[in-house]
Every structure is written in C-alpha cells, then in structure tokens.
C-alpha cells in the first residue's frame, strides 16, 4: 500500500488542480517525519523519494496558478524541502542542485 502511495503521490500532485484544500495538505506536510520515516522504513526508497519530491515541487512552483495569494507558502515549502532533503542526502547535494532542482 505504501509503495503504491509512494509511486503515485507525485503523479497525482503534478496533474491535480491546486485547490485550497490540497494546497493546505501539501504545505502542512510534516517533512521531517516523512523523511525520517522513509530513512528508517524504506531506506532504499529515500533517495528516489527525495528526487521525486523536489522534482514535483519544482513543477508545482512553475505553474502560473501558484502566483495566487497562497503561493508564498508553496515557495517557502519548496525552499525548506530543498534544505531538509539535502541534509538527508548531503552527498547528493550538488547533483540534486543540477538535476532535480
């Protein structure tokens, strides 16, 4: 079940309509809990999770509809996500900067 969610979260997010409810669900996501969870439970998926998360956020912040009122939160979430994810995978920071961000 979690693997199913893992592979589909970003597909659905990238194709979704960013309603206020979805926006709030996203920016209120507890990133540290999530990263810790993947690090402990699915360590082999951590790197892919981070790449997908950052890539998805990059796509989302580039969507024009995010210039609406709530967008600063998404941008902030995007920036925080980059910092938090890099701290989980410091060795990949330069690669992430180049390819995923």
């Amino acid at each position: 079940m979690l693997i199913f969610i893992f592979y589909n979260t970003f597909r659905h997010l990238e194709n979704a309509e960013m309603t206020p409810e979805l926006h709030d669900d996203l920016v209120n996501l507890s990133l540290d809990n999530l990263l810790d969870f993947f690090k402990i439970t699915y360590p082999n998926h951590l790197r892919l999770f981070i790449v997908l998360l950052l890539s998805c956020l990059k796509t989302l912040v580039s969507i024009p509809s995010f210039s609406l009122t709530r967008s600063p939160y998404i941008y902030a979430f995007h920036d925080i996500a980059i910092i938090r994810c890099q701290s989980y995978l410091p060795n990949f920071s330069s690669w992430l900067r180049q390819d995923a961000l």
């Binding site: 079940m1 199913f4 979260t9 597909r11 194709n15 960013m18 507890s30």
Partner: protein
C-alpha cells in the same frame, strides 16, 4: 564481472510483460479461427518474401477495437511456430515504458540467435550503463552491431531466417515524440547500416505515426495495411458471432432456457451491422451475453434495445453499448472512483486490497461494485484488468461518456490529497 552478470543486467532491463507469449498477457486477443484470413495471408507473404515486397517495415493500422493486437498476436504465434520470429514487443497502455524496448528485443535475440549472444553481452560488458543511453545508441550497440557479422555472412538473405520483429501498440507508448523517435531510429539504422531485420508494427493511425510513414523520417521501403472494409471484416465478425453464440448454446449453465433457433438470423444481421466491422463491439456483446450470472437471451435483448444517439460517428455504437452497461450499474460513483484509480495511477495493476485500502472501502467491495462491469473488466483473484483499451478513451472523453466522464484533474486532486493524508498518517 562474469557474462552471467551481464546477462543479469539484460534480464533486469527486459520487459517480460511485453513478450507475445508472456504469462502476464495470458489469454491475449487472437484472431478467431478462419477469420482475418486475407490480412494474415498478406502479412505472411510479406514476411516470407513471397511476392518480392521489399519493405523493411510493414505498418498495420486501424481504429480502436479493429483487432490490430489480435492480428499481431496471431502473426507472432504463427511465426514462432515456423521459427521465423526473432522478437516481439507488445506495448500496454498500463505500462507504456519504452525504456525497455531495446533490452527486450536484445534479450529475445540472445535466445533465438544464440550465436549473437556473446556479442550482445559483450556490448553490455563494454558499457554497463548502455541502458541509460539514447534509444539510437542502444539500438546500434545491442542490435545492429551484434547482427552485422551474421548479415555479412548472408544469414538473413534466406526468407526463412529469424529476422521478424513485431512491435504492437506503438500508439500506447507514452510520448508521441518517443514513438516518432523509435521509427526514426529504425529508419536511420536501415539507411546507414543496411539493417537485416524486418519490422511489423500494429497501431492506431495516430497523426505523428502516419506522418512518419508519409515523410522522409522512414525510407520509402515501407508497406502499410489499413484494416478497413476492403478486408471484409463484416464476414469475419459474422463468423465470430455465429461460433460464439453456438458455444453459449452448448456450454452456458442456463443453456436449457435458450431456444434452439436463438439468435434469429435478422438479429445476427443486426449485430453484424452494429459492429461496424470492429471486433471489440462483437466481443463486448459476447462477453456481456455470456455472463454466467444471467440468462443469455435476456442479456441479448438488453443489447438489442440499445439505440445509438447519432449515426456515422466512429464509436457511436460502441459508446452506446458502454453507456448502456454503465447505466445498469447500481452505484456508479464508487465504480468510477475505482476505475479512475486504475486509469490514472502509475501502477499498472494494483492489488484489489490496495485499491480498497486507498479508497477507504471494505474488503470485497471492489469486486461487488464492479460486478456489473464483467464484460468490460476482468477481476482476478488479486488484481483487476480492463479488457478493452478503448474503454479508457471513452471514460476520459467528456463528449463520449457524458455523465460517466472521469474528470482527470478533479480525480487527480482527490487522489493527491488522499496520498498526502496517508503518507502523513504512516509517518506519524
């Protein structure tokens, strides 16, 4: 690294579900006995060089449900039997991953031409990351170059040599640009390296594919077969329906309630006409009528009551049947939600238990909800399979499915929220 490990790399990159004889494609659509004879004969003559048709690609195209995959499958089975099939790749809309195309063909070449196995594994040894390279590079390294010595020795000059590659459902492959790229790669390989293989493609006549066959992307030495009325599909549909109704009359558990003259000749005529020569209509009718939970005579009466809203639309008849089937569904919203998840998720066939958990349903609910759709979806012990690719087109097209339309944006939004909530819950 040993050659065993290089073959492991090749195995890992191979899409086993794409083989024509893959267990994951168990009971694939095939031409009904004694149908499609003209088109099958024409393709076989091309393969065996019987009429000197010097085309390195043959493209079989036709509308959804015309039976292209069944033809490709039948040709694959026939050529496998005659040991002239080199490789096959059947794209699936549920798994349109093109990245494994070359590896899958290369793997089959290692099996069917063992003398080339060393050269293919050698190419992987020289570049273990070959599968991260472009399609063109993979094709040259893993197929063109390894086959070159055999080609120069005249191996492929014999019409009975293993040189046929079948690629079905190119239009199911995710990105039109990639579809075009596949044809470009083949065209270039043919021009530059005198590629000794021949390729049978079967697909819908999507614009970008049609364009590739009508412009300089491909060399002029290509042949096309349009699955149109010139192949008398109505006669084939009639034969198919006649045989299947006979089968229902002799094997259905409620066969004692079926009159011997059923169905009447005018009913058969009507169904043949309504099929528009497309097997999907005929097979959908038969699946619907042969449901073991219902009287076949009642089911056929329901089918005959269908009145298409408009004439001359290519899928009007089929849409009318789909609409009719969906109209009979007792609780439509959970059914559409389940189908949305199947159509919009990345995982090709999620487990029933996963669907139920994700959609907050009780165990067994999916099977109950989809019970009315047994002629459109097959519910296995653990997974669900949508039997007709055209059902996806129907459900995602508002003008065709109307009240049964699956709005992708809205569904993606619901599912994205569900994913985030479940992730959050799991990580607490």
């Amino acid at each position: 690294m040993k050659s065993v490990e290089y073959s492991d790399i090749l195995h890992r990159e191979t899409a086993t579900a794409a083989f024509h004889n893959s267990k994951e494609r168990f009971d694939p659509p095939k031409c009904h006995p004694n149908t499609r004879l003209a088109v099958l004969t024409e393709i076989m003559k091309w393969i065996k060089w019987e009429e000197g048709l010097d085309a390195f690609i043959m493209w079989v195209y036709g509308p959804a449900g015309a039976g292209k995959s069944a033809i490709a499958q039948t040709i694959a089975d026939m050529c496998e039997e005659e040991m002239i099939l080199l490789a096959s790749f059947f794209f699936s809309r549920n798994d349109p991953d093109v990245n494994r195309l070359i590896a899958t063909i290369a793997y089959q070449i290692t099996l069917n031409l063992p003398q080339v196995r060393g050269a293919i594994l050698g190419a992987i040894e020289r570049d273990p990351l070959i599968f991260f390279k472009s399609l063109a590079v993979q094709f040259k390294s893993l197929i063109v170059s390894p086959l070159q010595p055999l080609a120069e020795a005249g191996f492929f000059d014999e019409p009975t040599s293993r040189r046929l590659v079948i690629i079905d459902g190119l239009d199911e492959c995710s990105d039109p640009k990639v579809q075009k790229n596949i044809l470009e790669v083949l065209g270039n390989a043919h021009r530059q390296h005198r590629l000794p293989l021949i390729f049978l493609f079967a697909s819908r006549p999507e614009q970008h594919i049609s364009l590739a066959f009508s412009t300089r992307i491909l060399p002029s030495s290509t042949a096309c077969i349009a699955l149109d009325e010139s192949y008398l599909p109505y006669d084939d549909v009639r034969l198919f329906l006649t045989d299947k109704f006979q089968e229902i009359k002799s094997t259905h558990r409620l066969r004692n309630y079926i009159p011997p003259q059923w169905p009447l000749p005018n009913v058969l005529d009507h169904l043949v006409k309504k099929s528009s020569g497309q097997f999907i209509y005929a097979s959908t009718v038969i699946d619907y009528v042969s449901s073991i939970r219902h009287k076949p005579t009642d089911r056929l009466d329901i089918v005959l009551a269908v009145r298409p809203p408009q004439k001359d639309l290519p899928f009007a008849e089929l849409d009318a049947l789909y609409t009719h089937i969906f109209t009979g569904v007792e609780e439509i919203e959970p059914v559409l939600e389940i189908l949305s998840l199947l159509l919009l998720s990345l995982t090709s066939s999620p487990l029933l238990s996963t669907i139920e958990e994700f959609l907050f349903l009780q165990p067994g609910d999916v099977e109950l909800y989809l019970g009315d759709l047994s002629s459109l979806v097959k519910i296995g012990p653990e997974t669900i399979k949508i039997l007709h690719a055209s059902l996806t087109d129907f459900l995602l097209d508002l003008t065709r499915s109307k009240e049964f339309w699956i709005n992708p944006r809205s569904r993606h939004t619901t599912f994205a929220r569900r994913c985030l909530q479940l992730l959050q819950r799991a990580s607490k």
